[in-house]
Symmetry: C2
Subunit: 384 residues, 2 copies
């Protein structure tokens, strides 16, 4: 194989973005050969607006079986991600899925089991991991120079969406169609980065508010408190109702504090461990010496194209993935735990009862109302 022949399953807003990148040659080792969508109008769109040379399928599994593709990118509504991924991996086709990995962890476990049995590559579109700022932070934490994590505070409230956004597609922001709101749609990146940087918490207490700022079924405002195994605590705040909103991650370590905001990393570096200082310092109010530095990064931030390049490299045996598909379960576990905590109005210890979560979700699906689908597909360029 010289180039990876890719098929895209689901040619909506995100699928179209990815198709354009590949057609424009931004992923040199990948060629787009086929697309599928259950909506005939999206297939005509693909033929007219994207390329006349694409094989078109109304069924994603038919695309997988067609022989036209070595790999698929799954960009359907979230509930269907695991199904298509499992089908691809068990039919000799590499797979990359859009985030979230799925809607409930029980479903994603099956996907991960299928990946375990397959010799095909399984990746996930966690494009924020390509951001130099988060990569650098991850590298610093892994190096051990920061010492123990003490505190995490992420205000990620710059996901503003208007009512029109929610009204555009019938499946959006419904329990039956999407399985949640800001946590499942907008936040998978941050929830993944959170666990990538800090590890998984052991306890979660969340307060999810449904329809707080929009006429929707699901949550558009969340505050979550968490505790990590070493006793560190964290707060995660998100919404689609605030403008201009904030994206500020503050991590406090034994050796100082790092604030990640406006694509910068500001490090307040202590001259010694705050734990040691606390014990030996004779003055009551004296802090350890501290220097403020802006951390340099390599400046690279390839986002989706970077993830697709790495996916092609991995298939062609030339490199490693940005994110293994099986890691998608971690961020999803976090959002599931936040929902469960809010629904039961109690603190959830991890790992939680996945069947209980599924039953609670199912209750909400049972009374969920799909809206009229206006068939509007927004151009999502630069919005994620």
């Amino acid at each position: 194989m010289e180039k990876v022949r890719l098929g895209i399953i689901g040619i909506g807003g995100m699928g179209t973005n990815h198709a354009r990148s590949i057609l424009e040659g931004k992923v040199p080792d990948m060629v787009l050969t086929a697309v599928s969508d259950t909506r005939p109008e999206r297939l005509s769109f693909a033929e007219k607006e994207l390329s006349k040379d694409l094989a078109l399928y109304s069924d994603g599994k038919e695309l997988i079986d067609s022989g036209d593709v070595d790999a698929v990118l799954v960009a359907t509504p979230h509930y269907m991600h695991p199904d298509y991924v499992i089908y691809a991996l068990s039919h000799g086709v590499h797979a990359i899925t859009e985030k979230p990995a799925g809607v409930y962890t029980r479903q994603v476990k099956e996907m991960n089991e299928a990946a375990g049995k397959s010799d095909k590559v399984f990746a996930i579109m966690l494009n924020q991991r390509t951001n130099c700022v988060y990569r650098k932070l991850h590298e610093m934490i892994e190096s051990g120079e920061l010492g123990a994590l003490k505190r995490m505070n992420w205000i990620i409230t710059d996901w503003y969406r208007t009512q029109s956004y929610y009204d555009a597609a019938g499946w959006k922001a419904t329990w039956a169609g999407e399985g949640g709101g800001v946590l499942i749609n907008q936040c998978p990146h941050q929830l993944d980065l959170l666990q990538w940087l800090c590890g998984m918490p052991v306890k979660v207490r969340a307060f999810c508010h449904n329809a707080k700022w929009h006429d929707i079924e699901v949550e558009d405002d969340v505050t979550a408190y968490m505790e990590f195994e070493n006793g560190a605590t964290g707060v995660f705040v998100t919404t689609t109702g605030d403008a201009p909103g904030t994206n500020r991650l503050e991590l406090t370590f034994e050796m100082g504090k790092i604030v990640c905001e406006d694509d910068k990393l500001i490090f307040d570096k202590l001259s010694e461990s705050v734990f040691e200082h606390c014990k030996h310092e004779k003055e009551g109010f004296k802090k350890p010496d501290c220097t403020r530095v802006e951390i340099e990064t390599d400046g690279l931030n390839e986002q989706h194209v970077g993830v697709l390049k790495a996916f092609a490299d991995k298939i062609l045996g030339k490199g490693e993935l940005v994110a293994e598909g099986v890691e998608g379960i971690n961020g999803l576990t976090l959002s599931n735990a936040m929902y469960l905590s809010s629904w039961l109005d109690e603190t959830i210890e991890l790992p939680f009862d996945e069947d209980l979560f599924f039953r609670e979700l199912d209750k909400r699906i049972a009374t969920s109302k799909l809206k009229e689908d206006k068939g509007i597909v927004f151009d999502t360029t630069g919005t994620y």
Copy 2:
């Protein structure tokens, strides 16, 4: 009366600071005439280091009854604040108390009832209200220009204290001696400002961690979530264990966001109400237009001296207080609610059961161990 004759009850770290300010003439309409302390060594200190002209009392009530003073400043350990204030106000002496107003709201209600029956002035040392940044913010909120509050996030973790701080005084950081940790000792200012700016929440869910960073009985790490009557949510994070720590208050309103950090107010001002925009905007991702401005203030920040000047002015009929003593109950209600939530491991609705709080506090007092008093009095200048 030309000048207010003041007596200070409790001449420890804070009492000494106030005494020096007055002796140095920083409060022109006030003269220090007497001090009291139960510790003989503090009285000799006052005589030797402060002024030979001071009347000295081992009992604060004797000082109040002495005829030497028109007003008292109560700077004892917290539990005794209400008792001395009640005694002063009901014996014809004006009173200003250090924060917190008391340790439990039931006690402070009795103080406020005594104030209601007295014609004397009752003030509280909420000196942070004199800070131009918070005054300006309060003024902007009161004017209505910001619209409805949506979200509050205060990270106030720059209260670093070493183990030596806690070891210095026997009563510090014990349930019996102080009635709590960072919430009752360091945070009364921020809890007061929080309610002054945002109003009182209706629900509080807090996670207080005892002895997380220090060898003490009480909490030195707190994360609290709250909900306000209009549905706005809030997060309050504090600790004495972090260095350098953070003091960042972010308030999100219908008309934009204000961040208060490093003595600056940065306002992201929307061109229209985010609620209106959300309803009428046809694009899914489009935010209202936004301009960033730094809000100008009058630059004045008189702190303790400002509060004492206003106290003297009020007594002399020339002006108003910075903070009415009876308002001290609000911040205390917040910290009491945070403790109760954490102790019972559940969400607390306000107003809560004050007797239940008292019984729970009493359990902790019963097993509390007073430490050896090393008699160390730190110079607290500039640390609050």
